[in-house]
Symmetry: C2
Subunit: 501 residues, 2 copies
Amino acid sequence: MPDPFVVVGGDAAGLSAASKAKREAPERDVVVFEKGRWISYAHCGTPYFVEGVVETLDDLLSLSPDEVEERGVDLRREHEVTGVNTDARTVGVDGPDGQFEQPYSDLLVATGAHAVTSPIEGHELDAALPMHGLDNAAATRALLMDPDADHLAAVGGEEYVDRERVERCGALEPPETVAIVGGGYVGVEMAEAFSAHDLDVHLFQRPSHVLESFGDPIAERVEETLRDHGVTLHLDTEVARLVDDTGASTGDGRVAGLECAGGTTLECELALVGIGVRPNTHLLEDTPVALGESGAVAVDDFGATNVDGVYAAGDCAEMTHAVTGESTWVPLGLTANRAGRAVGTTVARTDHDAGDNGDGSGHGGVSPADREPVGSIAGTAVTKAFDMEVGRSGITDLDEARSYGFDPVKETITTRSRSGYYPGAAETTVTLVADRDSERLLGGAIAGTDRAAVRIDTVATALEAETTVGDLERTDLAYAPPFSPVWDPILTAAKVLRGSL
Amino acid sequence: MPDPFVVVGGDAAGLSAASKAKREAPERDVVVFEKGRWISYAHCGTPYFVEGVVETLDDLLSLSPDEVEERGVDLRREHEVTGVNTDARTVGVDGPDGQFEQPYSDLLVATGAHAVTSPIEGHELDAALPMHGLDNAAATRALLMDPDADHLAAVGGEEYVDRERVERCGALEPPETVAIVGGGYVGVEMAEAFSAHDLDVHLFQRPSHVLESFGDPIAERVEETLRDHGVTLHLDTEVARLVDDTGASTGDGRVAGLECAGGTTLECELALVGIGVRPNTHLLEDTPVALGESGAVAVDDFGATNVDGVYAAGDCAEMTHAVTGESTWVPLGLTANRAGRAVGTTVARTDHDAGDNGDGSGHGGVSPADREPVGSIAGTAVTKAFDMEVGRSGITDLDEARSYGFDPVKETITTRSRSGYYPGAAETTVTLVADRDSERLLGGAIAGTDRAAVRIDTVATALEAETTVGDLERTDLAYAPPFSPVWDPILTAAKVLRGSL
């Protein structure tokens, strides 16, 4: 029997890989080490938990530890993998019963990402929270509740949650004014979440628009919606420090305000910081496993690193971009699930008794035809602010497109989501970008209140297929008065963009 | 100056072509002959007009005659083209001021389609109406109103509507029970429309399911929804005749019931017959212009018929199917608009003074590179019954797929439309069909209450790009809890289907 398939990290990528490998090759041992208590949690649901649309943390758990065990996976929570020896094919593990070496036949690094708080000072004050992970979400929600409430019962996640932290945050007086630092999609979602609690919500964004990767016209529609719902936007505004009621950024105090580089100040009793995430690659520092330019783990089309038997997937790994063909790092949920599942399939098909297959792939025991591709990504993302839905896919920034050698042309149109005579038609804004010479579609974005977000899937599908704008314009999309005008907004945008090429 | 570009038919294809040609080549004369009074009407909106969601017929007119004239198009309503002489390049026209011959340089036949009523007897009784065109919609809506109401004011379309018919139908007692004969998408939409008027609605369908082209699992969800809303379905039931209160199918009486081949009878005071449409090709009978196997006009990739200078587009013409590459006839609104616009572009680029361009295309004066393709179709269609949205695209019927040489495999799944923890997640049913050998996606269909219809655009886009099921499974579709589970329902279906190949 070969050594186990060892997975580091018990979230989307790790558990997808473990489950798939065990299902395809039930005779293989599969061990998952997760350093924390939580497994298989829906990060993307945390704003809706804070909002209250999702009742408890338990609702955000896709799989319980028991369910993972029932799949035959040996799941070890609160086991931190502290080192990898790629020559010996072992990992060092630090668990509740001490340290040990675990041999592996194949290793999947699925360590995820962590929130960045630097260079903002004062992020360790009480009621200053990073926008990342379930414990922070629990702490945020506890903070919004009455100090006398039963915070633990309300937030749920009883077996997993950092109880001490929930109780400490819950004991604080609820805020009246909240500052969100960072206007990415989680920041925007949190603005909606806090508004639902009737708070005075302020969103600070260093660039001139929220949702930078969606482009200005889309961002402006979101900003209008946020303002309509009472959210105060501080754009082009860099937060320098969070301070307590003495003006200090250090110590044990509670956040009482913030100070911006330009001099703006705000009194607030809760600050949520979401200014970026970085891949967790610390584990690989002293190994020969190569990182890519992005700082995430470099992998091939099958999720394999440069070291035989070592894979990486999910928020810690790069992926190939569907438009550029280059490696990129865009940590998102579907990517993690898909790549993890693909690695699990490939590992299940690997016959370690067969030795190196001699194909020069550097990965012994599995023939190229048996490896499952992790696929490419287009950076497709959707979110909403109240009733304003937005989506984006591909390369929409002109400078970014030029950096990959394209000669990009961009058009933005606003048109109706339905036949004009059918009630509920909503102004829908579509941006499309194409390369002038090849006429290839490079990216797109959309905003609108009527089924806008899912329409980005048309763009995502066209990008993966390397469609030209002309082909997109002639695509036989759905038309019926309740759902679309004769020319779907994306077709109209394609028509206009083609006219500009 | 060359002779005018002559267009026969003033609806979607004809006016798209005329407008586009005039915009691209303002110096060219463009004449549109329309035999009726209506132009540029939204057929697809008629059920919603009968329902009352759309207030008047005027709302369904995209362009007024004045607006067409402002574009520089010479529009002649109530002018019927009665013959085509392709040698002399003239058409015979019968107008209010008599008959005349109109020379053309290029001719577009955009004569549309007509409703079939045969073999059902009694369809000429009062209150027995075909499901086609605005005058029938006006008559239907007038029939639902109180006899004392101002029917003409209510239905609108004052300049165009068949006033005598509206008044005659309006004078009849409103029905209590209505029979819809035919369960295609218009039949289903009309069931919703009549239900809004609190009528006892019966829908008769000869096949065993409504919406045959969507496949059984999708149809069953629609049928369940219709029944939940009180519509009585008579499936596997062939209507033989409509009868008046004496049991006669001829004469001047009003419909009082219907009789089915199997013996079923129903008393009803309104019968709407929608058992199919056929292309209007009568005009071309004595010309060398070839029809295709479907009975519609055969055209090439640019909408050109086999005769130099003669084009056809819209509901009277065939199109190339994106999946089979064969000619097919699927009369739908986007197809007509797109093909008409393409023909208008090609005609505008045709230089008749240059004579035959000698490229063997049979179409003088325009080089192949300057011709605008009409594109292919995938038979994409969407509709809804109350809150149940459905869509389909491509080839979903196994026998049909086999007839084109495919070895089809079909899977149907039902999954949630959103993350399970997010409110509003709705059971969504997806059917996908692929070819076993090539793994190419052949078609798909979807049903669900939460943004289901527009998701078919993903399938339509994938079909046009000749995507494999594996590629579809790895497409980077949008994910966010309010809009989709991590694996979009279409991705889940692709995953399951790929497992069956």
